[in-house]
Amino acid sequence: MTAGYTGLGDWTPEALGVPGRVRPVVSAPEPVLSRPGPEVDPTCEEVVQLAADLVATMRVSPGCVGLAAPQVGVSAQVFAVDVTDHPKAVTVHGTFVLCNARVVEATRWKAGREGCMSVPDLTGDVKRASRLVVEGALPGSGAPVRLVTDGFEARALQHEIDHCAGLLFLDRVAGAHAIYQRKVYL
């Protein structure tokens, strides 16, 4: 483990100390979704507000298990994830926000069908690691965090880290017949 990294501890969005505001979610082909976001200073006031806003926007969006800054029009490496109570999730870390997150270990690749709030009409088959180690920083304190997770939460994390790098699930689909018109809207 990289020195100084710990788990989430008892972190909750309340630790941000500011109320979140719901922001509009942008859809492809909005250019911000295809632009790699810069790293951020996790202690900066603007980033803390963005973190709270991502959580608030995720919570009002039905079926949403993750939301990245580019999806609310901000090119930055910040995202929120919450797979709590999702029937497919095994390991669950609750609601959390990470800044400047990167994948440090990815194994046991499995295909699965993904959608995205920013690509509302399509889904696609994407291979993701089902065992994952991610390192990043908590907004507010800037504390370094290392998360070990699997399955559904691992998939959500990789999807959001991709957003921060300017990538959509469309960039990772398995082949010419691996994109589908969405039949069920959450």
Binding site: S27, P29, S34, D121, L122, G166, L168, D171, G175, I179
Partner: protein, 170 residues
């Protein structure tokens, strides 16, 4: 026996596949490789089959097309025609605001590099245009091709990615 390339396209409705396949079976035309799919409300069939002369198949399909709802074509093709040498398999994905010439420009980059598109599909949903192509590239050319694709994509204002396709495990 001749190898035939057949296309059928028309406004989608239940029974198109059954109607066409029934005619072909009745003539003793054996369906080999095919794709049949719905494209924006039209049903499109492209099939290769082995059977009687093209004219006979065309005549048998004519009643299906008589009301103008289906368009069918039949052509004799050379069996087992020369196939391009297999390259390294990649998946190309392009997405962005719809505009004229995205497929033309991106596939020209592939063609100029000796890349062979083996499967391609496009989707327009709202203003989002998505292209996904499976392509075989000459060995060792992928980095250079990816660079040229990125430059062409930037000119078009679209995003592009080129990734190795999954290989067969067993």
């Amino acid at each position: 026996m001749s190898e035939l390339a057949i296309t059928v396209i028309g406004r989608d409705r239940p029974g198109i596949v059954a109607d066409v396949a029934e005619v072909l079976a009745g003539l003793g035309a054996n369906l080999t490789d095919s794709t049949m799919t719905r494209l924006r409300g039209h049903f499109a069939m492209t099939l290769v089959c082995v059977g009687p002369a093209a004219a006979e198949v065309e005549a048998a399909l004519a009643p299906l097309a008589a009301d103008g709802r289906l368009l069918a074509t039949v052509r004799a093709v050379t069996p087992d025609g020369a196939t391009a040498p297999a390259g390294e398999p990649y998946v190309l994905a392009v997405h962005g605001a719809d505009r004229l010439g995205i497929v033309a420009a991106m596939t020209r980059v592939l063609a100029d590099a000796g890349g062979n598109v083996t499967d391609l599909s496009t989707r327009l949903t709202g203003s989002l245009y998505v292209v996904v192509a499976e392509v075989e590239l000459p060995a060792g050319s992928s980095d250079a091709v990816a660079g040229r694709l990125a430059r062409t994509a930037a000119e078009l204002g679209v995003g592009v990615s080129l990734r190795p396709a999954d290989s067969d495990l067993l």
